[in-house]
Every structure is written in structure tokens, then in C-alpha cells.
Subunit: 335 residues, 3 copies
């Protein structure tokens, strides 16, 4: 017992109050073996093309500390600190970060929840709602959608999440830039999202804007899924607009997918997506991506998976064409 | 329960011995929203002047592991590992550090306590004894006192803390420099402190010296507080002396403050401080700082706070004057 | 109790299932005070020569998270994440790493164990089998053996460990290089080891190879120990071969040692080792090292130690001679 993280419990001390003041240590360890092949105009590109072990096929590896304190009257104080790292080499996911994924403190209660710090955008709440291929690195969305820029956590963020009422919930986030100067305003990144989840149906709409001195980037995403039992249908549609002085570029993006439960512990998910890039109304690029994966659950917390992704991105008219193929077999463990 | 950090306890195993071998995971998550305005000779300075979210208004955010093992006969083995990080962006407080605040192993018993590693100076034990404004970033001491250089943890430190006897306790710390060369001795930083805490009175005296090949820096601090019940009076007085070849500079510094408990869960603290810098006996600079904050406790572990600080630093005669104003509203959660 | 890492256990919830889903937080805090003297051709070298506090005399300081989940049928999912750091200054042992020592996920069962990620080589399993001086920084092996390059964890590793059958066990590890180019194959580092441990006897044989575009490095190690009760005899013999285009260098290395239990809580260990370096069959260098240490256990988890090491490395014929002397007194605490 000597190394175990406390195993103390005087019988009389086993109260609910103690549970409320606990810190949870949690995480994901996910590694896959496989092959990545990247060809630019038919020629293999290195070091992008490699065979070996890679981090996070299904979920990027991470660990975190989180906790919740009951303040009475339905009010809670919460915090979450989450670090990303690579399981293949032990590196910090982002250099110089102790908690690259999340680091926030907040309050929650009947009014909903507020998070303050490095927190996920409101946009992120819907962006993964209908992602196929288990929202993994093999999902088309995560390979070609430009708007995934906003599906992330951001520094200096205030996030508010409404309570779920009759299946409806929403969120808004605002991230302060700390780049104000004598002549330019501070940049700001904010987003809004709403979703409805009830029975077999889930629908969400998200909007995000990054407002900087150099231009604006906005994204919209509509995502939905419907569970027919034998199969769950997934669809996402979105747009990213980039306004720089003199140019406006627009990316349209969509993905369709299916989740198929093959057995109680075996599931298949596949998806296909496309994006089109226009600059000042003229089509200049396009991409498509196909992904599929099988997930075999050894337990609720441990999954063996196998999957593929084939992605193609090209200019229009074609001068540069990049094809990426991924074959992966992996193990994901949640703790 | 699956993610909780163990909650195992076979009834018969619930002994005190098990508690002694526990590792504690603890920390602080503290974030504030506010405005920092820095004006140099009347002109706003950027990026120092910003509005947004900032880490650690009341206490710098941190997490740590600590533990204590009963070795029998009153002897204990102890360790503490503590990392600072920014809750607003997840960064390590100090680049390249796994534990930027503390990292030590030691023994304690009837003789007192010894800490070996990266440990806080003995000087630090009294420097915060009478700090106003909750010893926060808004406290005058933490904005203008030069001797706060010594109120820190240092590498390669041996620290000894006496047991408290009749209200008296003391500490001494010695930090080895690893910069010995063929012609110069290794630098050394050491400090001494003693304090008396009994009933409403607390008084402490600290001394610290940083002895390097390039010169010596010494600091003295006398700090005390007296609790009248309706109000607690706080006073600190100190001096920092810098001896470089050819020049000696001296900073005199003092702070006065009050803590006022307004209700069982509401407290006000305010303070004012001044420093004067002399080079070879001639006054060349001065600074003053005012800070005040209200702390509203939602629980023992969670506090909402609001505060201000106004600090002015100038040359004598004035050629450069820097004014800093801070308005802050924050949330501090201890876990 | 508020800061303790959960101490919750409703009596009825104290099931084995809960223990299985636990995360263990563990580590080592080890610091020593002492003197390192390095002389090159009789002249003291700085900053290598210093007196002060240093990390990890007996074991490098570290902390880690590990866990095991029972998947049923004897199968388990396991993970281990381990970070090295310096207790003297709080630095990450390796810049940019969150877990510099180990980071892997895997499965174990009747078939043995598989680890995937940053894992220790199979070679490491025997390299420490017969190391004298508690396999510490004072051990000859850890000061002069060239093959300790392979006694480490490596990125992108698949490791398989057999079950122990009749005292026999073995391991194999393969580490993928991710440096394939259009003209060169990816490097690969692999190793094999087998050992027999039964009663007083332990014998192990390890082989490792690092196969890169610039040449091959291979190492062999035979290690064994025999416990006579009053004394345990330790012996290691090995060779490291470096094949670069045009040159082959070979290092022969051996160490002999004894462990002497002086009392139930006091042990002495001493060892002597030598290495000889030949380039294309011609002797060009040699080294020898002597180490000895006393370990006094305050408990199973806490040890006070004192030790010395004297190491000499020189060219043949002598143009450069480096002598290193270490005197150390330290404290090691395991949590």
C-alpha cells in the first residue's frame, strides 16, 4: 500500500463532505502503431512519411487535476488543470506549458457555469458534436476543416455555459488579447454556441470570431446527429471566413458520417468530408478526406482500435496536390 | 468513482499508519479580471498596460505534492514539490522548471526541521509576517520593497527551522552557489530569522546576505502585527544594501497596514508603503505604494476578492516617473 | 483533511474493483551534500569541481502516475508516466519533457506484458542486475561503462516482457526511429535480455543494437550475483562496439562488487570496475572506478547514505588524464 495515493478512511470520517473536497487525477494514455504516407505531387515527403509509434490516435494523451467544492445553496467552486503530452516520447504537447489544454477556476450552480482562465471555446462545444470516426485524428473534420482553429482552448478566457433546459443548452466565451498598443485595440476572440440534445436527436450551432489588428476570422458550424439504433447519422456543415486588408477568403466545409454499433463492445465509424477554398469569390483550393475506424472496448476505460484515413488537398487549378494516407492500430486507456 | 484518486479502504486497513504514508496533492487556482495601467512620465506604456485576465491576484497559482512519513521516536521524513504556473495561459511560471517554487526532502522531530533542496529562505519566514492586503500582488511590500528578492526559494538550500518554544521560533538557511572557479570562491546566499507569536502579538526579524564575486547584497527586515480585535495593525521596516566595487546603494523601506474583519466571511485590508534609494549617501530614487482589498469567503477554500493598487516610482531629482494603477476582481480557490 | 488526496470510503464501496481503477502517485526525492573534484592532468576543472547540494546520489529524483485496470480473464491494462527532475533546483531533468523517464500504455496477462511508448530497453533489465554501490551515481558501472547508453528508456518503443517461469524471464524491445528519408532507412534501436533469478543466484544476459545511417553500436552485458548471506557477490562483464565508416571501436568493461548487510538497517556496498577502449584493434583509452557506500535505513522508504567514488580515465599513451573524486552524504525518500 505504501505507494498508493492515500487509502485512508477512518470509518466515521466517510462523509459526503469529504468527497466534495477531493482532487481527481485523471487522464488518457493513447498510442498507435502505424504508417503515415505523405505524397506531394506523387513524391513521398519526409520526415512526414514514417512508420512507427505515434501519440493519440483516438485522443491526445493528457493528464489533469480537477475538483469541485460544494459551497452550499447549490453553488460550487470548480477547477481543472490539464496537460497534454506525447506518449511516444514524453514531450510536453506545447513547449513551456505546464497545462497546455485547460487551466481554469470557476463557479457553477443553478445559473449555469463560469470558467475563468485557459478554457475551451464555446465553439468547441458543438464542433465535435457530430464528428465521425470517434472525433479522432482519423476524422475528416480533424484533417481538413479550417474552422478547427476555433475548436481549442484559449488563453485569458471567460466562458459561460447555461444549464440544460428541456434539452437546450448554450455557451459563450470571450478571450482577451493582451496586445493593446497606443494605436491599436487589443485583439479579442469570442464565440457562441447552442445545442439541443433530446432522445435520438442532437443539433448544434456555433459561431466564433477572432478579431485582430491584422483582420478578422469568423467561423460558423452547424452540426447534427440522429440515432436510428442500428446506425447513427452524423452531419456537419460550416464556413470559415478570413478578412485581411484587400482580400477575403472563404472555406466551405462539410462532413457526413455514420456510427454503427456492431456488438456491445464493438463499434464502427466512418465519415467523408470536403472543403472548398475561395479567394475573393474565385475557387483556389479544395480538399477531401475519408476516415474509418473500428473500436473494440476491452472495458469502459480501455479500447483497442484500428483505422484509416485518406486525405487529398490540392490547388485549383492543380499545381500542388498533397495526398496523406494513415493506417493505424492503437490502444487507448482512460484513467 | 472510476476517476477519483483512490477511495479504497478495507475497513481493517484504516489505520493511522496508512495516513502517514500518504501523498497530498494540493494547490491554488487564482485568477483575476482587471485593468493594469502603467504610465511613464504621463504616457501609457504597452504592453504593460492591458485589460484582461491575469494569474494570481491573491496568490500565484500552483500545485504540489507533499508527504510525511513517521519514522518512529518522533522523527519524520518529509518532502514537498511545488510548481508555479499561470492560470491565464497554462505556462510554467519559470521556463524549464518542473517545480519552480519548492523541491526538497528533509527530516523533522523534536529538534526542529531540516529541508534540503530548493527551499524558501529563512528571511521569507518573516517577510510576509506583517504584509498588508493579504500579502497579495496588491500589497505595497510586493510592489516596491527591494528586499523581496530574498523572500523566495533558492536552489541548493539547507534550511533549519527551530521548534516553537514559548512563542519563539527561528530559522536559518544557506544556499550553495555552484559557480566556484580557479580564482573565485563559490557565491553563497544565507539568511537568519526569528519570530515571536503569542496571543495578539507577532514580531519577527530577518537578515539575509547574497555574497557573490561581483559584490554583496544584504537585507534586514523587522515586521510586526498586533491584533486589537476590531482591527489588526501591521508594520514592516527594512533595508537593502548593495555593495558593488566602487558604489554602495541603500534602500530604506517601510509599510503600514490594517486588517479589518467586517463580518465572519468578509475582511478588508489596506496598506501604504514607501522606499527611498540612496547611492553613496545621496538620494537618487523613491517610491510609494497604496493597496487595498476586500476578501469575501465563499468557504474556507474559496474567496472572491476585489482590490486596487496605486504605485509611483521616481528618480530624484525627477527625470523618470512611473505610475502603475491596478484594479482587480478575482477568484481564489485552494485545493 | 481538506488538502488530502481523498480519503473517502463509504464502507460498502470498499470493493476490489475500486482498487483496480486507482491511479498511484509515487516518486523519489533524493538529495546529497558533498564535494566533486575533477582534475584534468592534475589541474582542477571548473565548474565540474564544486561543493554543495546535488540531486539523486542514490536514485535520480522523480515522480510518476501509474495504474492498472483489471479487464477480466487475467488481462490488465496498464500505464506509467514518470518525470525526472532535479531536487536541488526544481528543473526538468530533460528540457521540454513532461515525462522524461517513462510514458507508456500496455497490456499484461498470462502471456507476459507489452509496453508501448517511451519505455525502458530490454537491455536495462539486466544492466542493473549486478551493479554495486546500490546502482547509484557512485557505482563504477554508472561512471565508466560505455554500454549504459542502452540502460535507458527510449522513444517509440514496443517492449515485451515474458512471464517468469521457473526463475527464467526475458524481454525484447524495439524502438522506431522516425528519421526515414528518401534515401536512407529509419534508424532502429532494439535489445534482448534474459535472466534467471532463483534463491541466492541471479544471472542475466543482455544485447542491444542501435542501427543508424551513420553506423551501428552494439552492446553485450553478462551480469550475475550470488548471495552467500554474510555477503553478496556481484559481477558484470560487457562490451560495446561502435562501427562507423572506416573505424571500429570496442570497449571492454567489467565490474566486481560486494553487498554486505551489516545490520538489519545498515548495508555496505563497494565495487571496482575497469574499461579498455580499442580503435581498430589498438588500445587508445582506459578507465577505472572505485565506489563504496553505506546505506542506513530509517524506514523502508527513507535512507541516509554516505559514499565515495574515485574514477580515472586516460588516453593510451597518456596525453590526457581525468580524475574525479566524489564524497557524498545524502537522504533518499521514496513516496
Amino acid at each position: 500500500m505504501k505507494k498508493s495515493l492515500i487509502a485512508l478512511a477512518v470509518a466515521g470520517a466517510c462523509s459526503a463532505a469529504m468527497a466534495q473536497s477531493s482532487v481527481q487525477l485523471y487522464g488518457v494514455a493513447d498510442l498507435w502503431f502505424g504508417q503515415i504516407t505523405v505524397k506531394e505531387n506523387g513524391v513521398k515527403v519526409y520526415p512526414a512519411s514514417q512508420t512507427g509509434l505515434f501519440d493519440g490516435g483516438f485522443s491526445n494523451s493528457r493528464f489533469g487535476f480537477k475538483g469541485s467544492e460544494d459551497l452550499g445553496g447549490g453553488l460550487k467552486a470548480n477547477f481543472q488543470l490539464e496537460q497534454g503530452f506525447n506518449l511516444d516520447d514524453g514531450k510536453q504537447a506545447q513547449a513551456g506549458k505546464m497545462f497546455s489544454r485547460q487551466a481554469w477556476v470557476g463557479l457553477s450552480g443553478g445559473f449555469g457555469e463560469v470558467q475563468l482562465g485557459k478554457a475551451y471555446s464555446a465553439f468547441d462545444d458543438v464542433s465535435g458534436l457530430a464528428a465521425s470516426v470517434f472525433d479522432s485524428d482519423l476524422a475528416p473534420i480533424n484533417n481538413i476543416f479550417a474552422s478547427t482553429f476555433f475548436s481549442d482552448s484559449f488563453n485569458n478566457t471567460v466562458k459561460y455555459i447555461t444549464p440544460a433546459i428541456g434539452g437546450f443548452s448554450g455557451a459563450v466565451s470571450y478571450s482577451f488579447g493582451e496586445d493593446k498598443t497606443a494605436t491599436t485595440k487589443a485583439s479579442k476572440l469570442w464565440s457562441l454556441s447552442g445545442k439541443y440534445e433530446e432522445g435520438p436527436l442532437a443539433v448544434g450551432l456555433g459561431y466564433a470570431k477572432n478579431d485582430t489588428a491584422g483582420g478578422d476570422t469568423t467561423a460558423t458550424r452547424l452540426a447534427g446527429s440522429y440515432d436510428l439504433g442500428a446506425v447513427k447519422l452524423l452531419a456537419s456543415y460550416g464556413q470559415l471566413k478570413d478578412k485581411a486588408p484587400g482580400t477575403t477568403s472563404k472555406t466551405n466545409e462539410w462532413e457526413l458520417g455514420v456510427n454503427v454499433p456492431l456488438a456491445s463492445n464493438l463499434a464502427l465509424s466512418a465519415g467523408y468530408g470536403r472543403t472548398t477554398l475561395k479567394e475573393d469569390g474565385i475557387k483556389v483550393g479544395k480538399a477531401n478526406s475519408f476516415g474509418a475506424a473500428l473500436a473494440y472496448s476491452l472495458s469502459k476505460r480501455t479500447t483497442v482500435y484500428a483505422g484509416v484515413n485518406a486525405t487529398k488537398a490540392e490547388d485549383v487549378p492543380v499545381t500542388d496536390k498533397v495526398k496523406t494516407n494513415i493506417y493505424a492500430v492503437g490502444l487507448k486507456h482512460t484513467f
